[in-house]
Amino acid sequence: MLYNAYSSNPAMKPPPFKYIAAESVEHALEQMAEYGDAAKLLAGGQSLIPAMNFRVLQPSVLIDLNPIGDLEYIRRSDDGALVVGAMTRQRDLERSSHVERITPLLFEAMPHIAHPQIRTRGTLGGSLAHADPAAELPVIAITSGAAMKATGPSGDRWIEAKDFFQGMFSTALEPEEILVEVTFPARKPHTGWSFEETSRRRGDYGMMGVAVEVELDEGGSVKEARLVYMNAGDGPIEAEKAAALLRGQRPTQEVFAAAAAEAADNEIDPMGSVHASIDFQRHLARVLTARVLAKAYARAQSS
């Protein structure tokens, strides 16, 4: 029984578009080749549909990747890496024991991404392809040295996370390519990790956030360090000078504070917002960096 009082004038937010339910990756590629720039891929829709509801984006063709079941998987490879299909839901990553064991940094960051009702739809690939500078997943991908597999008309290619993100909402993906898989390498021994962010409310985009991985040498000094910031510039920002200050050092509060100051004062380039001034964002970066370094160091010692 239908209630049709409104259907003569139904509420419609996005402008009209042609809808194509992709049957396979090959089918999606064919459709992309046919419609070119007019087409957009639809993953979880948690960034794309709001933009369409606002009519900020008006694609004339939507190619829905959701019907392709085989892009949703979380596996451990033979060499111990985490291998994730691009359409894997954020909610499934959050609950995966593979993720918890192989990439605890990713596991730690997952609950900060939006709200449960958004993570049930939002995908790993969608967040990475969207490349929001305030998003957690690009930061985690760079920190953990992930690699993205793109497939296009001329076959597959792998892109390192550090080369994948190319500024505000842009990536190394070609318009006719689909991101299909992401691998996160197995963690090395004597390596510690930590992610922290400050948001006004759990699930809101963070005002500042930082992920870190620290590897210690036999003697307990820092062998390798990587610090990556979110909402700190026009993309994920890697603080290389701060990492250089840590390398070769025995970890102390002073060393952590110096690295935190270098990153917060000189390397990040936050933009400020109504919720957080640039000064406050730098302050958060300083505090959070000292915190994640201490935590990562303690974890590296006990791993």
Partner: protein
């Protein structure tokens, strides 16, 4: 105007319809199926008023297209109780603890909390607050909502 035939189940009942691809699920439920319990607040994913269950999982119905529900199962607030004498324990607890004032946000809270309590029957206050972080309420100040969830959890464990 391009339309597509869809067939979906809502609260156990099958519906067949023709939809334009741009029809949002929230609008389909409200305006085509007349299931107006699902509310529409912000229409960009922030307020949670439109939360429904899609194959058992809570989702924003304003961020899905009706066409994407073809062949799937939905639950909306209308499915929680057959009458006012037969309320779901969560609804009962919202009533008893004054977990609502105007009630606009309530269906979204309920559809968020039903799967939450099924997975976590004994939540801490912090877990409850995190579970509802994606739902806005302009009236209650949340205090009584948290209390209602605690009360419902306690009663449902008995």
């Amino acid at each position: 105007m391009e339309t597509h035939a869809i067939s979906l189940t809502v609260n156990g009942q099958t519906y067949n319809g023709d939809v334009e691809p741009r029809m949002l699920l929230s609008d389909y439920l409200r305006h085509e199926l007349g299931l107006t319990g699902t509310r529409v607040g912000c229409e960009h994913g922030v307020c949670g008023a439109c939360t429904v269950l899609f194959d058992g999982q809570p989702v924003r119905s304003c961020l899905m297209l009706a066409i994407q529900t073809d062949g799937h199962e939905l639950s909306t607030v209308e499915g929680l109780a057959s009458s006012t004498d037969d309320l779901h324990p969560l609804q009962e607890a919202f009533w008893d603890a004054h977990g609502l004032q105007c009630g606009f946000c309530t269906p979204g809270f309920l559809m968020t909390l039903v799967p939450f309590l099924a997975e976590n029957p004994q939540p801490t206050e912090r877990e409850i607050r995190e579970a509802i972080s994606g739902n806005l309420c302009r009236c209650t100040g949340y205090q009584n909502i948290v209390e209602a969830v605690r009360l419902a959890a306690e009663r449902m464990r008995e």
